[in-house]
C-alpha cells in the first residue's frame, strides 16, 4: 500500500499534472464565478476538454475543475450580490453587506481561507472513512445495488424539488426510462429504439447533462436582456487565517456537515451550505448572532467550509459505491468511466492505486485553488463587467463541441439539443433536472441488478429474503423512508 501511495504521489506531482490541475482549477474558478454557471455545468461542459487526455491527466483536470468551481461561486456572490453557484447564496447574504461596508476584500479572503480549510476537512474525512465504507461496500450484491441506485434517485428527487418532491421523482423516473433506451445488456433486446439504429447504443448521459444544464440555462437566461453593472474595485485581499482560528469550532462543525451531506447520494453542496449556515446561526454566540444577515464573517466561514468539505464528502459514495454524491460528482464519474475507470466496490482490485491518486489530486487541487483564487479575483471582476447576454451566446459552441467530443458522434449533438429543449420545458413546468441526470446514470445499474436479484430470489419467500439480506433490508427501509419523508413530513 505504501509503495502504491508513493508511486501515485510521484505521478501526481509531475509538472504536466500540475499544469493540467492548475488549468482545471483556473477554469473552474472562472466558471463558478460567472453568475448562473453552476459547478455541475462547469463539470458537464469542461468534461469535453478531458476527452483527449490520458486517464490520470483527465482525473487531475476534473478534480481541479470541481475544486475550483465550488469556490468560484463565492466571488460574484460577495462582489456583486449574485451567487455564481446556488451553494454560494449564504455567502452572498453575508459577504455582500460586508462588501458594501468596504470590507469586500476581507470577506473574499475569509471565503478563500474557509474554502481551503473546508477542502482539507473533506479530504481528511474521505481518507479516514474510505476503508470502512469500502469494507461495507463489498457486502453489496445485486439486490443491495438495485436498492442503492433507487435510493439515489429518490433522495435526489426529494431534495432538489423544493416543497414538491413528487416532481423530483417524476423527473427521476423519466430519467430511468431514458436510461433504458438501447440494446438491453442481458439479452441484447432493443428497448425503446423505435427502429432507429442510432438509438441502439443508448443515450449517452454526457450530451444529456450538457443539454439539460447548459442549453437549458442559455434558453432561460438569454431572453433576459437587462445587463447589470458591477463595481470595478475590490479593495485589498488578505487571507485572514486569524479569523478562521477564531471560528475554529464553527469550521470543524461545518466541515463535518459538508462531508456527511456530500456522502449522501443526491444531496449536494447547496444543502450542505444552507444547513451549515442555519445550524451556525443557531449555535453562534449572542454578540455574533446579531451580525448574521447583516455581514458576519462566521457565517461566511460556515457556508464556505461546508460547501467545500462537500467535495471530499461527495467523493465517498462516488469512489466506493459508484453512486455519485451529487450531479457534479456524477460528471467526475462520467469522466472516469470515459477513461475506463469503473468506480465502485471493486475499485481497488480493478484500478489499484487510483484511489490514492484521487486523494493526492484533491490535495494538490486544494493548494492550487488557494493560490489561484487570490490571483484570479481581480481579472474575475473585470470579466463580470460583461453582461450575461454577451457571455451566454459564447457558451453555445462549447455545448456543441463538448457533446460531440465525447464519442465524435454527431448524433450526440442532437441529443444535447433535444435535452436542452426538454430541460427548458421541464423547468417551465417546475420540474428539477438533476434527478433526471442522476437516474440516467444509475438506470442501467438498477436494471441489471434488479433482474439478477429476481433470478437469485426466484425460489425464496419475501420474509426469507428480508432476513437473509440484512443490508438489503436496511436499504429497503431507507428507500421507503425517503418516500415517506418526502410525502408526509414536507406536507406537515
Amino acid at each position: 500500500m505504501f509503495e502504491q501511495i508513493i508511486s501515485q504521489f510521484l505521478l501526481a506531482i509531475g509538472p504536466w499534472m500540475l499544469v493540467v490541475c492548475l488549468l482545471g482549477v483556473s477554469l473552474g474558478i472562472l466558471w463558478g464565478a460567472m453568475p448562473g454557471l453552476s459547478t455541475t455545468m462547469a463539470m458537464a461542459l469542461l468534461i469535453g476538454l478531458s476527452v483527449g487526455m490520458s486517464q490520470y491527466v483527465a482525473i487531475m483536470f476534473m478534480l481541479g475543475v470541481y475544486t475550483g468551481s465550488v469556490f468560484g461561486g463565492a466571488i460574484s456572490a460577495v462582489l456583486i450580490n449574485i451567487p455564481g453557484t446556488p451553494d454560494a447564496v449564504p455567502t452572498m447574504m453575508e459577504g455582500h453587506p460586508l462588501a458594501k461596508k468596504g470590507e469586500g476584500g476581507l470577506a473574499l479572503g475569509t471565503a478563500i481561507a474557509a474554502s481551503f480549510l473546508g477542502n482539507w476537512i473533506g479530504i481528511l474525512l474521505l481518507i479516514l472513512f474510505i476503508p470502512a465504507i469500502l469494507f461495507i461496500a463489498l457486502e453489496f450484491r445485486s439486490w443491495e445495488m438495485f436498492l442503492l441506485s433507487m435510493w439515489g434517485i429518490a433522495i435526489c428527487g426529494s431534495m432538489s424539488s423544493g416543497e414538491m418532491p413528487l416532481k423530483g421523482w417524476i423527473s427521476g423516473w423519466i430519467g430511468l426510462l431514458i436510461s433504458f433506451v438501447g440494446v438491453d445488456i442481458v439479452h441484447g433486446t432493443p428497448r425503446y429504439t423505435f427502429g432507429f439504429l442510432l438509438l441502439e447504443d443508448g443515450i449517452s448521459y454526457i450530451p444529456l447533462l450538457i443539454g439539460l444544464f447548459g442549453l437549458t440555462e442559455i434558453l432561460k437566461v438569454l431572453p433576459q436582456d437587462n445587463p447589470y453593472s458591477i463595481p470595478s474595485k475590490v479593495g485589498k485581499i488578505i487571507p485572514p487565517f486569524s479569523t478562521l482560528f477564531k471560528y475554529a469550532r464553527s469550521s470543524v462543525r461545518s466541515g463535518l456537515i459538508g462531508t456527511i451531506i456530500g456522502a449522501i447520494p443526491g444531496a449536494g453542496a447547496n444543502v450542505a451550505s444552507f444547513l451549515s449556515y442555519d445550524i451556525g446561526r443557531r449555535r453562534a454566540k449572542e454578540e455574533e448572532k446579531k451580525k448574521w444577515g447583516k455581514g458576519s464573517y462566521e457565517a461566511i466561514v460556515c457556508a464556505e467550509v461546508a460547501n467545500n468539505a462537500n467535495v471530499g464528502g461527495s467523493m465517498l459514495p462516488t469512489l466506493t459505491l459508484g453512486i455519485p454524491g451529487n450531479a457534479a460528482a456524477a460528471a467526475i464519474l462520467a469522466a472516469l468511466e470515459m477513461k475506463n475507470v469503473v468506480l465502485g466496490p471493486t475499485i481497488q482490485t480493478e484500478n489499484p492505486g487510483i484511489i490514492y491518486f484521487i486523494y493526492i489530486g484533491l490535495i494538490i487541487a486544494n493548494f492550487l485553488m488557494y493560490g489561484m483564487a487570490i490571483i484570479l479575483i481581480k481579472p474575475c471582476v473585470r470579466l463580470f463587467s460583461l453582461p450575461r447576454t454577451l457571455l451566454m451566446p459564447l457558451i453555445i459552441p462549447i455545448c456543441i463541441v463538448g457533446s460531440y467530443a465525447v464519442h465524435l458522434n454527431y448524433f450526440d449533438v442532437y441529443i444535447m439539443f433535444i435535452s436542452g429543449i426538454v430541460g427548458y420545458i421541464l423547468y417551465r413546468f417546475g420540474f428539477p433536472l438533476a434527478p433526471m441526470v442522476l437516474a440516467v446514470i444509475l438506470g442501467p445499474m438498477a436494471d441489471e441488478n434488479l433482474r439478477r436479484a429476481l433470478l437469485v430470489f426466484e425460489d425464496k419467500g419475501i420474509l426469507e429474503i428480508l432476513w437473509d439480506r440484512k443490508l438489503g433490508t436496511v436499504l429497503l427501509f431507507v428507500v421507503l423512508y425517503t418516500f415517506y419523508d418526502g410525502i408526509f413530513r414536507r406536507k406537515s
Binding site: 469535453g48 416543497e163 417524476i170 433504458f180 433576459q224 437587462n226 459564447l394 467530443a405 417546475g430 420540474f431
Partner: protein, 204 residues
C-alpha cells in the same frame, strides 16, 4: 423561502426583471394548477406507453430476467405519480377558486410571452446551427513551416451564427459582435483541435 406558486412566480419574475440568478433549481416545485394538469396528462401517457412497450419486449427464458421488468415497473410508478400530481393540482385549483379576488401582483404572463418569443427564436437559431454543422463538412488547411492553419466548416458556420445571436440579444454593433464571435470561435477551435487533439464537428 417557501416555494409556493406565488413565490415561484415572484422569484421568476424578479429574476427576469433584475437579471439575478436565484438558484439552479430555484423554480422547481409547485407550478400553476393548469401547468400541472398538462404535466400529469403527459406523464400518464408516457407511463402508459412505457408499460405497453415493455410488455411487447421479447425474453428468451424466465420473465424475471425480461428486459421489460423495470421499464414496466417504472411506467406504472409514473402513472401513479401522474395521478398524485393531478390530485395535487385539483386541490390547489379548488383552493384558488375559493379565494377569488386574491391575485398575484406580478404580471408573469406578459413577461413570459415576450420571453417565450425570444426563447423560440433562440431555439430555432440553435437548431439551424446544429443542422448546418451536421450537413456541411469541409476543412481548409494552410501549411507553414511552423504551424498548419485549419479553418473548417465549424468556424465558417459558427462565427456568423454566434455573431447573429450576439447581435439579437446583446445588441452590440454588428462589427463588434462579429469580432467577439470570431475571437471566441478561433480560440475554442485552437484549444480543442491543437491543444487537446479533438476533432471538431463539421470539420476535423
Amino acid at each position: 423561502m417557501t416555494n409556493t406558486p406565488e413565490n415561484r412566480w415572484e422569484n421568476e419574475a424578479n429574476e427576469t426583471l433584475t437579471g439575478k440568478f436565484t438558484g439552479e433549481e430555484a423554480s422547481s416545485g409547485y407550478s400553476s394548477p393548469q401547468n400541472d394538469f398538462i404535466s400529469s396528462a403527459v406523464v400518464a401517457v408516457v407511463g402508459l406507453g412505457a408499460m405497453w412497450m415493455a410488455t411487447k419486449l421479447d425474453y428468451p427464458d424466465t420473465i424475471l430476467t425480461s428486459p421489460g421488468v423495470l421499464p414496466f415497473f417504472t411506467g406504472g410508478c409514473l402513472i401513479i405519480m401522474a395521478a398524485a400530481l393531478l390530485f395535487s393540482a385539483l386541490r390547489r385549483k379548488r383552493a384558488e377558486n375559493s379565494r377569488k379576488g386574491v391575485s398575484i401582483s406580478i404580471s408573469s404572463s406578459k413577461i413570459s410571452s415576450r420571453q417565450m418569443r425570444q426563447t423560440l427564436v433562440l431555439g430555432f437559431i440553435v437548431l439551424v446551427y446544429v443542422l448546418l454543422l451536421d450537413q456541411i463538412n469541409f476543412t481548409w488547411r494552410y501549411h507553414t513551416p511552423l504551424y498548419t492553419f485549419n479553418v473548417g466548416s465549424f468556424e465558417v458556420i459558427s462565427i456568423p451564427l454566434i455573431a447573429g445571436i450576439l447581435y439579437y440579444f446583446w445588441r452590440g454593433t454588428i462589427i463588434k459582435c462579429f469580432i467577439i464571435s470570431a475571437l471566441m470561435i478561433f480560440f475554442l477551435a485552437i484549444v480543442f483541435r491543437d491543444g487537446f487533439q479533438i476533432l471538431l464537428p463539421g470539420s476535423g
